[in-house]
């Protein structure tokens, strides 16, 4: 902390200015507007906490909140389990493991909007054809109700992001020194013991990173939601980010949308920070 020389500030300033311009200032402005009756153009008066009270009674917001929470819980678990599983698979020494890494990572290189449209086709046309061929009725009528909309979103997100999570786990898996594993092997540890007692604790920092990424990403998801279900049917698959955008732009209620965005920010920030602090404590140093 002592060497905050001129060059320190010189290097930091561009980032700070950029952050202030696109994050801090808009946020403070948003905070201010959330206490007014702003309509996106002008405001006539301060309304105190009226917007915050309205949003608590707003069924659509509460519904979006619980939908998003359920989505985050399911995707965080699935993404980390599948991501780690894929990472373990491709770090085994066999032919084609590098090829598989590229394949698993590939979905992540397609934009969320396009992905949503591709999967919409798969769910509505592909699943339907498969369902009628195999006489499996649960494969039909996807995305026409809340349940299939939910699982559709989960499948797309997991399919897209698990490759990315895999890459992070691979990086940490490769950092585990071979001697430790070999020593355990000589001591007679079974593969399962080696995994739970050595590998798992050693990649704890990866958990912190991946949990953070999957958590905040799950809360903030918008593009897949837009292109896959667009919140429908009957707004039942509308997630938090989408509810906020629609409140502002479809219902023209900008100040309420600002209040929702503030609550949204607090939720995501609080959960992510608690998670990071908690997981940090579990990390071990060599």
């Amino acid at each position: 902390m002592k060497n905050r020389s001129l060059s320190f500030w010189l290097f930091l300033t561009p980032t700070l200015v950029a952050l202030a311009l696109v994050v801090f200032i808009p946020m403070l402005e948003g905070l201010f507007y959330s206490f007014t009756d702003w309509d996106g153009l002008s405001f006539t008066k301060m309304v105190g906490f009226k917007n915050y009270i309205t949003l608590l009674q707003d069924k659509a917001f509460v519904n979006a909140f619980w939908f998003t929470v359920a989505f985050v819980i399911v995707t965080v678990i699935l993404l980390n389990v599948i991501g780690l599983g894929l990472a373990l698979l491709v770090t085994q020494k066999f032919k084609g493991s590098n090829f598989l890494r590229a394949i698993f990572f590939m979905p992540n290189m397609i934009g969320g909007l396009i992905l949503g449209f591709i999967w919409q086709f798969i769910f509505t046309q592909g699943f339907d054809a498969l369902g009628s061929a195999l006489h499996l009725s649960w494969l039909q009528n996807w995305l026409t109700n809340e349940t299939t909309g939910f699982w559709g979103l989960v499948i797309v997100t997991v399919w897209q992001m698990s490759g990315y999570i895999m890459i992070i786990y691979i990086a940490y898996l490769q950092n585990i020194p071979n001697e430790v594993i070999e020593a355990a092997e000589i001591d007679g540890a079974s593969p399962w013991q080696r995994f739970t007692k050595i590998t798992f604790p050693m990649i704890a920092p990866a958990f912190t990173v991946c949990m953070f990424l999957t958590l905040s990403n799950g809360f903030k998801i918008y593009d897949q939601n837009l292109s896959l279900t667009n919140g429908g049917p009957y707004n039942s698959t509308q997630m938090l980010a989408m509810d906020i955008v629609n409140t502002a732009y479809n219902a023209s209620n900008f100040s309420l949308a600002e209040a929702k965005a503030m609550v949204f920010f607090l939720i995501v920030a609080a959960i992510s920070l608690v998670q990071v602090l908690y997981n940090r404590r579990r990390e071990v140093d060599l």
Binding site: D39, G40, L41, S42, M46, A60, T124, Q140, N141, W142, L143, T144, N145, N230, G232, P233, Y234, N235, S236, N246, T247, A248, Y249, N250, A251, S252, N253
Partner: protein, 430 residues
């Protein structure tokens, strides 16, 4: 923040604003060059508007027009708001009904004295009138009904013009359905359950219009929504849903128009004249020869087509007088001059909302239907723009109608949710 501070800010802004306006007026001597900027939301007509603008520039060398079009995935209002708050407001912008009329009030010039406003068809200005003044000029009028496949009806031996009551329609639909295979169709209708607006805007309007005299402004200001004709709407929605290509809840606009109707898989769909370019793109022969439109039979409104306007031009009153005058002149020229009229009909493919187009021929069969019904005064108004800009539309009407359509909720509950939701929105807006 205390009130005094904002008072000061307001005062300073007002003073600065006045000073600027005065300065602008000082500059505006009559023969100087004037530049007007247009921001409009009908992106599909972007090229045509630009052509028309350059034609006008040639005839009026001292006027420069810059056209910017927004649409597709981008919504119009946020962009207009951004332009206004960044001090880059357009001279001519557009409004889509009473809600935006109220929202942009501080920027709307009175257009009552323009030639176009005087030539406007009766009723077309109702939605953009306030305290006896007119603040918008309609782009065009549009109409909707059942767009039908002529050869399917011919093969089945049904005259679409004879379907003037619900019972006759019902009988025809059942006949079409029983001969599905022979006629080569997959379903009588294609109802897009995914596009809630097809129900919440167009279908609902048929049964609400009369309650509000087809006047969007009246609906917008009304504290109450009776919705007395709801049983009739249920009947029509059930009929469309029952005899539609399935699954209804998976069908979107593209599936309805592009995949099903344009490829002859549905006998008729509830849509309007705006689908013509899409059908034309897929099968232009079919579009030119084989499609027509009939009114949807509604009691006491039989044989009448719902015709209305979804976008209006407005002129920014915070611009200099010269600029405002040039903008009004341009709009007058576009809709009331001889060259302008030709462009409106042949380039923009608009059904004119103005008088003085009698005897002109529309460019396609669907707009021709709307034009004929308008000339014969067999129309009723659009009340739904009175709620499209309000939260009720997307948070109450659309989800409730979709819930009913997918069998999640009964009709009575749907109706009471809608009418109660309207009352509570209007109460809190006070």
């Amino acid at each position: 923040m205390n009130g005094k501070f904002w008072k000061h800010v307001g005062l300073v802004t007002a003073v600065a604003g006045t000073a600027l306006t005065l300065a602008a007026c000082g500059n505006g001597s009559s023969n100087k060059d004037v530049k007007i900027t247009i921001l409009q939301g009908k992106v599909e007509s972007n090229k045509q508007f630009k052509q028309i603008a350059s034609e006008y520039e040639k005839a009026h060398p001292n006027v420069k027009i810059e056209v910017t079009s927004i649409g597709g995935g981008t919504q119009y209002d946020p962009v207009l708001k951004t332009r206004i708050s960044s001090g880059n407001a357009p001279t001519i912008f557009s409004l889509d009904g009473p809600a935006s009329l109220k929202q942009f009030k501080s920027h709307e010039a009175d257009l009552s004295d323009t030639k176009a406003a005087k030539a406007a068809q009766p009723g077309t200005l109702d939605a953009v009138k306030s305290e006896g003044k007119t603040y918008g000029l309609p782009f065009n009028v549009e109409g909707y009904g059942f767009v039908y496949n002529k050869s399917v009806f011919k093969k089945a031996g049904i005259d679409p013009k004879s379907l003037t009551s619900y019972d006759k329609l019902d009988a025809a639909v059942k006949k079409l359905d029983s001969e599905k295979d022979k006629l080569g169709i997959k379903g009588v209708f294609a109802l897009p359950g995914k596009e809630a607006w097809v129900m919440s805007d167009h279908l609902l309007n048929l049964y609400l219009s009369k309650e509000f005299d087809g006047n969007a402004q009246k609906l917008y200001k009304s504290q109450k929504m009776e919705f007395a004709k709801n049983a009739e709407m249920k009947q029509m929605l059930d009929l469309q849903s029952k005899y539609s290509i399935k699954p209804v809840m998976q069908m979107d606009y593209a599936a309805q128009v592009n995949q099903n109707f344009s490829q002859g898989k549905a006998a008729m769909i509830q849509q309007g004249d705006w689908i013509y370019p899409t059908v034309d793109q897929i099968d232009s022969k079919f579009a030119q020869k084989d499609i027509g439109m009939i009114p949807i039979p509604v009691k006491e409104q039989e044989g009448k087509l719902p015709v209305g306007t979804s976008i209006y031009w407005a002129v920014n009153k915070q611009k200099s007088n010269t600029e405002q005058k040039a903008a009004k002149d341009f709009l007058d020229w576009m809709y009331t001059s001889k060259e302008g009229k030709k462009n409106v009909v042949n380039k923009l493919h608009f059904v004119p909302a103005y008088k003085g187009y009698e005897g002109m021929k529309m460019s396609d069969p669907l707009t021709q239907v709307v034009f004929d019904y308008t000339n014969d005064h067999k129309t009723f108004g659009w009340a739904f723009p009175g709620y499209t800009g309000t939260p009720w539309d997307t948070t109450v009407a659309q989800p409730n109608l979709q819930k009913y359509l997918s069998g999640k909720q009964g009709w009575d509950k749907t109706v009471s949710n809608m009418t109660d939701g309207w009352a509570s929105q209007q109460k809190s807006a006070q």
